[in-house]
Symmetry: C2
Subunit: 405 residues, 2 copies
C-alpha cells in the first residue's frame, strides 16, 4: 500500500483525504488576519482554553445543529454545555469509548463500517458485533436480532452502545433513513436495562450532501436527550488541517468525558477553535461548503457515470452503491475476485496504476463470514481528471478479471 | 476555587497560565499570512497530516535539541524519526503512560510534582511512588532506596518509569542538577531487568530560564538512546493556544506510541505544526523567547524581592524556593498553618483577594505523610503590577497567621 501511495504514477482512490485543490486557503488567511487584528481576542485564543472547548463555539454549534435538525433553540436540551470540542471527531469518539467501555464490553456497529474507529475500539478490548446494513443504512430488525441473541447469552448488560456512521457511510456511501433513525433510537431505549445502551452517531460526512438534504440527526429523535451522542467534524466540510471536531453528549456523560479529555490534553487548541468560529460567523464556512458541494457533486456524478459506462455490461456480476453525498462508493466484485492486498486483483490494479481500499478492512475484526469481494473507492482527494483516469484503470482491470472469472 | 477565579477582584497566583500581555499576536499573524501566501504549502497544511507529526518540524526539533544538548547532529541517535508531535506535551505524556503501563504498574516521581499528570496516571490505575527532592531536584539516593524497597517486595518488574519535571519544576521551581541527571539515567539502566525502566523527562519549562543556561537534558546522558523519553512544548515558551508539544522516544517505542496516537486522533493539527515550524525557521520564535525571558525574569525578581522584604522577619518559620526560571515559587508556611482549601488560611487569602495552589495537590494521591503546609505561587499570568499586589495580599495574610500561630 505504501509503495503505491508514494508512487506518483499511481492514482489513489484509496485515501480518505479531502479534495486538495479546494482547501480553504484564502478563508483561513482572512480569518486568521481578522482574529489577530483584535489584540484582546487574539491573546485569548493564544492562551490556554477551557477543557471542554471554546464556549462561544460550543454555543454556536448547538444553535446550528438545532437548526439543521429542525429543533427550536434548546429543544431536546440541545445546548452548548452539552457540546465538547476535540481534535477531530476521532478524538471525541475515542473518549466516548474510554468513558463508556470496560474491556470485553459490546459495541454494535453497522457492517461494513469506519475501520479506524473499529481499530480504536479493538485497542480497548471491546467486542464489536456487526449489524446488517442495506441501502437505507443499518437494518433495525437485524439490530433487534443481535440484541436478542446477546440477551439470551445473558450479556445484555455488556452492550454499551450502537455505533452508526449515519450519513454517507464510510465505506458504503449510504445514509440511514429518517424512519430507521427513529427506530434505532427507540430500540436503544427499549433494550436499556440496568445500564443504558447509547447510540453513537458519527456524522462526519453529513454536510457533504450534493443532491438534496439528508434527514435530521438522531438527536431529533431523542427528546429526553439521554441516548444519542452525536459526533461532527470540520475536517471533511472545511479543512482537516484545523483538526477540529465536536460531540454532543447526554448531560450525565459530559463530566466524565471532560475529565478524560483533561487527562489527554486538557483542551484542544484555542487558536483553531477561534478560527472555526470566525469562519462560521463570517459566513465564509457556508460559502466554502456550497462550493465544495458543487465540486464533490461533479466528482461523484463523474464517478457513477464512469462506473455505469464501463461496468454495466458486467451487471449483475459487479454492483456498486449510488450515494448522493460523502466521498465513497462501495463496489462488489464477482464472487471469485477477491479484493485483498495479497490477491492478484489488487496487484493488477497496482500494476495498472490505481489503488483502492480492500473491503475486508471495513468489517469488524474477527467477524466470521465477512465477504472478500468488496472494495471502497474514494473520489475525495484526486481532481476530476485524475479521478476519471483512476476509475478507467480500475474498470479495465475489473472487466478483465470478471471476463476471466 | 472557581469562585475565586471568576471574581475579577481576586488576583490569581494559582493559575498555571502564561503571561497574557506578551502572547505572540504579531508573530502568529505574520506566520499565518506567510504560510497562506504559498498555496501549495498552505494546502498541505490544511490537509490531513502524518500521525507522528509534520516531518520538517520533527527534523528541526531533533536538530535544535541536539544543539541545546551539545550533541553533534545525529549523536545519541537524536533524529527526527524519534520525535512525535502532539496536543501539548500533556497528550504525549498521556500516550507514554498508555503505552508503558498496565494497571497496577509503578511510576516513581519526584515529590512534589506536576499534579495534572499524576491525575492522568491515576486514571490508568498506576501506583505512584514518591521520591525525595531538594534544591537540586530529585535525590538519586532516595530513588535507589525506593527501588530497593520495591525489589524486596518482589515488584521490581512492575516499575515502568521514573517521571521527573527536570527544569524549574512545577511546583517547586527547582532544576535537576547536571550530575544528578547522569546518575538518574544510570540508576534507571542499572535497575532495569526483564523490562526496561525508562526515564520520562518533562522539560516543559526548560526554555523559561532567566538567569543563565540550565544543564543539558537527560538525552545527553543516554548514549544508546534506550532509556530517556523527553517531552517538550511550545505552550510555555510560545503560546498555549497552538497546543503543540513534542516527545523524543527510544526507537523501539515509537511504533507503539504512533499506533496509540492514531487511535486517539491520527495526528495533531497540521496547520498549527506548520505555524510552529514557520516561527522557528524565521527566527520569530527565538526573538519572542528572548523577550519573554526578560519579562518573566523581571516578574520572578519582583516575586522573590517581595517575598524577601515581607517574609524575612518570619524566617525560619516560613521558607520559599529561589528558582532561576519557570513560573513558580514553592512556599512553606509555619507548621501550624495548613494551606488546604478547607482551612482558614486559604479562606483568609481569598477574603484578601488572592489565590494560590494548595501544596497537597502536588503530591501523588494516597501518599502518606504528605506535608500540609506548602503552597505554590505562580507569577505567570498576572502582569507585574497585579503580581506585586497579589503577593502583598498574600504576605499580609501569611504574616498575620504566622504571628498568631
Amino acid at each position: 500500500m505504501e509503495q503505491g501511495v508514494s508512487n506518483p504514477g499511481v492514482i489513489s482512490l484509496a485515501a480518505g483525504l479531502v479534495d486538495q485543490d479546494s482547501l480553504p486557503v484564502d478563508e483561513v488567511a482572512q480569518a486568521c488576519a481578522r482574529l489577530m487584528a483584535h489584540p484582546a481576542l487574539a491573546r485569548e485564543l493564544l492562551q490556554y482554553g477551557a477543557t471542554p472547548g471554546y464556549a462561544p463555539l460550543r454555543d454556536l454549534l448547538a444553535r446550528r445543529l438545532a437548526e439543521m435538525d429542525g429543533l427550536a433553540p434548546g429543544e431536546n436540551d440541545l445546548c452548548g454545555d452539552r457540546v465538547l470540542i476535540g481534535a477531530g471527531s476521532q478524538q471525541l469518539l475515542y473518549l466516548v469509548g474510554e468513558v463508556l467501555l470496560d474491556p470485553g464490553d459490546v459495541v454494535l456497529a453497522d457492517a461494513p463500517t469506519y475501520f479506524v474507529y473499529m481499530g480504536a475500539l479493538e485497542s480497548m478490548d471491546a467486542r464489536i458485533v456487526p449489524v446488517d446494513a442495506d441501502d437505507d443504512g443499518l437494518v433495525p430488525e437485524s439490530l433487534e436480532v443481535r440484541l436478542d441473541e446477546i440477551q439470551r447469552r445473558g450479556e445484555l448488560d455488556r452492550v454499551k452502545f450502537i455505533y452508526v456512521v449515519s450519513y454517507f457511510n464510510n465505506p458504503t456511501g449510504m445514509t440511514l433513513s429518517a424512519d430507521r433513525r427513529k427506530q434505532v433510537v427507540e430500540i436503544a431505549k427499549r433494550w436499556s436495562r440496568a445500564s443504558r445502551i447509547h447510540v453513537v452517531e458519527d456524522a462526519a460526512y453529513r454536510e457533504l450532501s450534493y443532491f438534496g438534504d439528508p434527514p435530521p440527526s438522531m438527536l431529533r429523535f431523542d427528546p429526553d436527550a439521554s441516548t444519542v451522542l452525536y459526533a461532527g467534524t470540520f475536517s471533511k466540510p472545511f479543512a482537516p488541517g484545523v483538526r477540529t471536531g465536536y460531540l454532543v453528549a447526554p448531560r450525565d456523560l459530559v463530566g466524565a468525558l471532560v475529565r478524560q479529555k483533561g487527562h489527554h490534553d486538557f483542551g484542544s487548541a484555542n487558536l483553531t477553535q477561534g478560527l472555526v468560529l470566525e469562519v462560521l460567523e463570517s459566513g465564509a464556512y457556508d460559502r466554502h461548503l456550497a462550493r465544495l458541494r458543487t465540486i464533490y457533486g461533479e466528482k461523484l456524478r463523474l464517478t457513477l457515470n464512469t462506473l455505469q459506462d464501463a461496468l454495466s455490461p458486467l451487471d449483475p456480476q459487479v454492483e456498486w452503491t449510488r450515494p448522493t453525498g460523502g466521498l465513497y462508493v462501495w463496489v462488489r466484485t464477482p464472487a471469485g475476485v477477491s479484493t485483498g492486498m495479497d490477491g492478484p486483483f489488487f496487484r493488477d490494479c497496482l500494476d495498472e496504476g490505481v489503488l483502492y481500499v480492500p473491503g475486508e478492512f471495513c468489517y469488524p475484526p474477527g467477524v466470521e463470514g465477512a465477504p472478500t469481494n468488496f472494495l471502497r473507492l474514494s473520489f475525495g482527494l484526486a481532481d476530476a481528471r485524475r479521478c476519471r483516469e483512476g476509475l478507467n484503470r480500475f474498470c479495465r482491470v475489473l472487466a478483465r478479471c470478471a471476463g476471466a472469472s
